[in-house]
Symmetry: C2
Subunit: 257 residues, 2 copies
């Protein structure tokens, strides 16, 4: 019960939030109970689910800094089986404050106790584009890390330091952490560059790379402006199909159907 998966890559704009929102939505649509935790001060996962900061008082900041129980901060979304622990723009300042707190790297882990974990089948954590203390908290709390990699040259450069960080976390903070998998995002059939990047990642990470490619598709960029995951905005779109296919693979790997 309650597998915790962090979605992380310090490279910006690679599709972390898009993957978090759409994977969570597809799993909840398939009947799984899912919690999405938004740890990014930009609150993109919140608005991707149609939840805006004016409508809630408690957020992930209270959980990390004031030990507010997660159950007090969780919101129901308008999508069945899909709950949200919202973020707040105060998370920017929170990272500095966290530095001086006891157990600064394990505060999220402590907050996601057995009671919370048993409420869900999957808990996803959307992280900001950095390897700072907030992302480290996600790594301290999770069972595995799902890494979106954009099919672009710049996106390749940061992968080795991300893997090294996960390795360091395994040695010092969380011995159970492993790589859930790598999903290639914003793929474009037409360009050579994409094919080269995909080939290079598959060569390096082999079966850890999902067979499903997430193609660049306007639905995935438009759906957030309506506060909906792609399957609730336009289920017949290429974008929705990509995430439905990814969800099937994700469930296969987690031997649940």
């Amino acid at each position: 019960m309650g597998k915790i998966v962090a979605i992380a890559n310090q490279k910006g704009g690679v599709g972390k939030t898009t993957t978090a929102v759409n994977l969570a939505a597809c799993l909840s649509f398939a009947g799984k109970k899912v919690l999405l935790i938004d740890l990014d001060p930009q609150k993109n996962a919140c608005s991707g689910l149609g939840v805006y900061e004016e409508t809630y008082q408690i957020s992930a900041v209270d959980v990390l800094l004031n030990e507010t129980p997660v159950t007090d901060a969780i919101l129901k979304t308008s999508f069945n089986n899909l709950d949200l622990l919202p973020s707040s723009s105060d998370l920017v300042g929170a990272e500095v404050i966290l530095t001086d707190l006891p157990m600064r790297e394990q505060r999220l882990k402590a907050a996601l106790n057995k009671t919370v974990r048993d409420m869900y089948d999957f808990i996803f954590i959307d992280t900001p584009p950095s390897l700072g203390l907030i992302t480290i908290n996600a790594f301290g709390a999770c069972h595995s890390v799902l890494v979106p990699i954009q099919c672009e040259y710049y996106a390749l450069e940061g992968v080795s330091s991300l893997m090294m960080t996960i390795e360091t976390v395994r040695e010092r903070l969380n011995s159970r952490i492993e790589l859930e998998g790598i999903v290639m995002t914003m793929a474009d059939k037409r360009t050579n560059l994409n094919q080269q990047v995909i080939a290079e990642v598959r060569e390096h990470f082999s079966e850890k790379v999902y067979r499903t490619l997430i193609y660049r598709n306007i639905t995935l960029a438009e759906a957030p402006s309506f506060g909906k995951p792609a399957i609730f905005y336009n289920i017949r779109s290429v974008g929705s199909n990509c995430y439905i296919s990814l969800t099937k693979e994700f469930l296969e790997k987690n031997s649940q159907a």
Copy 2:
């Protein structure tokens, strides 16, 4: 002499590095003396200019933490009039160390003394996708901030907290800081979403938004894999033309031709 421009937006993947590398390259091609400072631990601006970490010993980390003179760290690139202050993957750890150092927000400002400034017409600072201490150092040192905004819904959400941060920096740290301008990136003529985002930004920031739109163009994604700015990879491409046009506007605004 030596106008210092930070290129910043905490939203990831919006084209900060692409704008920093290509604007710097176009200005140097036009005969201006330019320094590009890479403050992102991903070192994308370095590889965008064909400079790799194995080839240098001193980086921005030494300048920020050990007060190494900038002139000791500057590298010549293979592009005339374009120098680079390289970054390093150690910048991730440096941000935590910086927290406890005296004058932690002004260390870059102190490093960019009159000697350094008088060596160049323009100094650009590429920043990581966050509003942490490294980006604050860039804001403390600069005369203005150039903000790339991707023509996508999620990219709109963070703009107000970026503007608030710049306002706070003006009150507490750097009274001269101003908005250099906003450049719309990854525009796509075909989609409504793009037109809506562009219209919204123009309405809000009016003449601060460059007339030039940077269109999504494969050259801009491919050129970095050859270690070259777009104008040195394929000068006739749409991508190169966009940045040539932006450079003209930038020079107009800075009343130099």
